[in-house]
Symmetry: C2
Subunit: 176 residues, 2 copies
Amino acid sequence: MALGKDYAHQHCSVARALEVIGERWTLLIVRDAFYGVTRYNDFLTHLGIPRAVLVARLRSLEEAGVLDRRRYQESPPRDEYVLTERGVALWPVLLSLGTWGTAHVDGVPTLRSFVHADCGAKLDPHGQCTACGRVVPVEDVLLVPGRDLDPEPGNPVSRALLKPHRLLTRLDVERG
Amino acid sequence: MALGKDYAHQHCSVARALEVIGERWTLLIVRDAFYGVTRYNDFLTHLGIPRAVLVARLRSLEEAGVLDRRRYQESPPRDEYVLTERGVALWPVLLSLGTWGTAHVDGVPTLRSFVHADCGAKLDPHGQCTACGRVVPVEDVLLVPGRDLDPEPGNPVSRALLKPHRLLTRLDVERG
DNA sequence: AGTTGTCAGTTCGTTCAATGAACCTGTGGA
DNA sequence: TCCACAGGTTCATTGAACGAACTGACAACT
């Protein structure tokens, strides 16, 4: 739970949403899932999250129906975590948070932005393309690195995200 | 901080936004501010939040430029907390969270909804009126109680919210 | 056959934040 | 004079996050 038992008494869908995705790290895991990260180890190294916390979050997101856990190899058994429809529905939350952070948190330079793949123009907080004005479906959103982005060369996930990347497509992470 | 020192290392505006508004209780305080709650005591009783935590959150929201603290009486000195422009800019975040909670968290009945004051129709996750299709400015959003709302008669803030209420307008809370 | 490496965890001691109850301060009103 | 109120502060207890170390199943190399 995000805020203790009291959350259950909140008469508000915002509070209920926060019960599911309001805990520390949870939305960053969801963000990485939008970026195409699927594996425990990639979440771990990209986020720098404690292992026990990552496992707990992945389990609770799976239980909440936000992530789907599926076997990608049998020997040894290995699972990957993919956004469900319910998880993909969190896109407006992530987008509005991201644009707010860019516009209103002091000292946040242009690290990455969300652009309309068709137009190349940025999205506004409501998900509309600032060029064509349409509400862009999340499949047509491109994550592009900004000029202030630190490449962080030691991290394979960060390296993979140096190229523009379409959301919800699998990220090609180098394995060593 | 929402997630410890590590957050500073996140190369992402989502993470930066969560540093400001990602902590426990913070977004619920912002939500209540949108509802027109302005005073310490009203936040306290409506949220059921520990006093020390409320003070800490109000201070950090003030410091982040989300809330403005202003004196409303001199003797004894009393301050109220009002959303700044930066705080009002959080509207898309709150809206998308609320609609996601309503649509995707199991067992959340219709407690309250956001409707377009002109049309009376609900808003979609991107802030568009489901009747007229326009993106509705937050000043034209009405918070209306749903049929599953528990009146919670002991709480003056809850009682005040039993009537439809326009966002960002001061809530008329009975004082004892 | 033994060693090394990878992936996905679990365990555990320490640190840090949230919780909730009690207390404090300045003031106005009965 | 005594009480209530608004807006806090203090403090002991609980619980969660942190991070380092360890585990287990397997593959690939030597």
